[in-house]
Structure formats: C-alpha cells, structure tokens
C-alpha cells in the first residue's frame, strides 16, 4: 500500500470519526460555569492562605517582640536561617545565573518529559526569564538586604503540559537563601517552597 493511499484512508477515517460525534449541548454554560467555580475556589484558597499568613505574622511579631531582649545579636545582621555555614548573602549579583528545580513542595513530576527544559535564569539587572517546560516565562525581581524577595511576573502563554510551577513558587516566596550552588525559596511563614540547583 502506498503512503498516499494510507494518507487518504486516514483522512476518510478521521472524517467519519468526527462526523459520528453527537452534538454537544451547553458547552458555553459548562465552560463559563466551570471557569467561574475554579476562580471562586482560587479566591477562597488565596483568602484562606492570606488569613493564615497574617495570623502567623501576628504571632511571629508578638513572640519576636517578647524575645527581643534575650536574643543574641546575629553576626552580619543576617537572619538565623541565613547565617548557617556556606551561606552567601543573596543579591542580584549572587543569584545571577541559571537554576534548575530540585524539589518543590507539592510537585512530584519535576523530571517528566517536556518540550523545553524547565529552567529559570536570574539576571543581575533585576530581570528573570525561563520556561515551565512548555511556556516561556519572564518578569522582574527584587532582593532585600536580608533576603527579602519579590517578583513581578510578565504575561505568559497557557499551554498545558506537566508545567513546572515556577511562577507559583516565585509569587509565594517572600525570602530566599543562597549557598554556593543551592537557591531556596521560603514562604512568609518560613515554609520551604522550593529548592533549585545552579545549572550553569
């Protein structure tokens, strides 16, 4: 059988298959309702997370204020977590480079097959770029003197695959810690969100 016979048969088969599909009803309603419900769930989760973060912050501040007189001063003005051995003060210069994800809270498929390598690159000029495996990502970032971290995320495509949730990590991160080859992101409550290894 020639290739063109097979190709013609394929066209016919797909046409027949497509024609056999019964008419779908209510697609608009299902799509809009589903999207709105998903959005509402996101708001509820985000709201609950904000309340939790605020509660932790209030407790943290009150405990911090109580202990302020008995805590020994930390050398170099760094936070205790950041003062461990091999720590490097994080700054736009020291985090500059390309990083690959090693561990992310709640993500178990970091090594799945994807069209692109899911790396992120921080540049010394305060911009970052990368890929979640299928979509290009970019934005800007700032790092404070004690590792305070904030990003702005630029527009991105929404191609679905086993996307590596870099943007969720960056968005939720409020502090980073760096040693020679490991960059860690922490949430406002001190939870470790992700760990990246220097790729190049």
């Amino acid at each position: 059988m020639s290739n063109s016979d097979l190709e013609d048969d394929l066209r016919g088969t797909f046409e027949r298959a497509a024609a056999s599909v019964p008419p779908a009803t209510g697609l608009t309603e299902r799509a809009t309702t589903g999207a709105r419900q998903a959005q509402r769930r996101t708001w509820i989760v985000a709201g609950a997370a904000a309340v939790a973060v605020a509660a932790v912050a209030v407790v943290g501040f009150s405990l911090g204020g109580r202990n302020a007189t008995v805590q020994p001063p930390v050398a170099g003005g760094q936070t205790p977590a950041a003062s461990a051995s091999a720590q490097v003060a994080p700054s736009a210069e020291t985090v500059s480079g390309t990083w690959r994800p090693v561990q992310m809270a709640g993500s178990t498929t970091l090594k799945a097959d994807r069209p692109d390598e899911p790396l992120i690159e921080f540049k010394p000029d305060g911009t970052w770029q990368g890929s979640d495996g299928c979509n290009g990502l970019s934005g800007t970032y700032t790092i404070g003197q004690r590792g305070e971290f904030a990003v702005k995320i630029g527009p991105q495509r929404l191609v679905g695959c086993d996307n590596v949730p870099h943007t969720a990590v960056l968005r939720d991160a409020e502090r980073i810690a760096l040693d020679a080859d490991t960059l860690k992101f922490f949430a406002g409550d001190g939870r470790e969100l992700a760990s990246y290894a220097r790729a190049r």
């Binding site: 059988m1 290739n3 097979l6 190709e7 048969d9 394929l10 066209r11 016919g12 088969t13 797909f14 046409e15 027949r16 298959a17 497509a18 024609a19 056999s20 599909v21 019964p22 008419p23 779908a24 697609l27 608009t28 299902r30 799509a31 809009t32 589903g34 999207a35 998903a38 959005q39 799945a112 097959d113 069209p115 692109d116 299928c134 527009p155 929404l158 191609v159 679905g160 695959c161 086993d162």
Partner: protein
C-alpha cells in the same frame, strides 16, 4: 468575537477534535470543556490572538497529551464508530476505515495527535510543531513512525 459566539461557531469542532485524538466520546467532551474553560479565563487575550481557534486547539491537544502522561490516566476503549451518524461511505471503505480506526488506538498519544493534526486538521508540519511546542523535524519523524506502524498493522491483518 465574544466567547459565546466562538463556542457556538467552533465548540462542536473542538469536541470532534477531542474525539479524533482520544477515541472516546466522553473524554472528547471533557477535553473541549477544559480547553474552553481555560480560554474563557483569559478570553481578552485569546480574542486578540491572530487565530483564537488555533490557541484553543493548542490548549485542547496539550491537555490531552498532559492527561495521558498522568499516572491516573487509563486508556479508554476506542469507541466503535456509529454508522448511523457517519458520513456516507462505500462499504469497503467503511471496513478499511474501521480497521484503521482500531489500528490508531495502538499508536502513542503523540503519534496519534500528529496524524490528527496533519490529516484531519490539515495543518502543515510547522504549525503542528508550534501547537505541540516541538521542532518540525520531530513532527516529520513522529508522523513517519506512526504511518509505518499503521502500514505494518494493516499488512499483518491482511495476510
């Protein structure tokens, strides 16, 4: 174009595309719904695209490929084509077509998607590469491998 107008004009096409890639009527509707939900959430951006349908089709196809990679994914049995609904076709062609339809179930998800985009959606390899986020040479290699598999399957059935 408003979202409702788009769904009313192209929604059924999406379900058909979902069926040709998945071989399952229920999954086809799910895929169309997921693609439309995602498009609806960023509709302002989608409607500005040169070809909104290309954008939504890309979501659907990649959602299917993503779905097949999940551990929880179970292969749905390939639906028998309903002869009452299919387009008129000479009897022998129908038999050949049904054999081919069953043989398609033996391909990998990506191979099948490439064939659907090429022979059902009539997309060129460059556009298919863009939809799947891979190189055109990978599209050609995947299509060639899939066609060779189908040819072998048909020959073994005809022996």
């Amino acid at each position: 174009m408003e979202f409702e107008e788009y769904v009313s004009a192209r929604g059924q096409e999406l379900v058909r595309l979902g069926f040709t890639v998945s071989g399952d009527y229920q999954r086809a509707e799910d895929l169309a719904q997921i693609a439309l939900m995602q498009a609806f959430r960023s509709w302002r951006k989608v409607r500005k695209a040169d070809d909104p349908h290309h954008y939504v089709r890309r979501i659907l196809v990649n959602e299917y490929l993503s779905m097949t990679r999940r551990r929880s994914f179970t292969e749905a049995p390939t639906a028998e084509l309903d002869p009452q609904r299919t387009v008129p076709d000479p009897a022998t062609a129908v038999v050949n077509s049904d054999d081919l339809w069953r043989a398609l179930a033996g391909l990998s998800a990506r191979e099948r998607v490439v064939l659907v985009l090429r022979y059902y959606q009539d997309l060129d390899d460059r556009t298919i590469a863009d939809v799947l986020g891979i190189k055109p040479s990978s599209v050609r290699a995947t299509a060639s491998r899939a066609l060779a598999t189908l040819r072998r399957t048909r020959q073994s059935h005809h022996v």
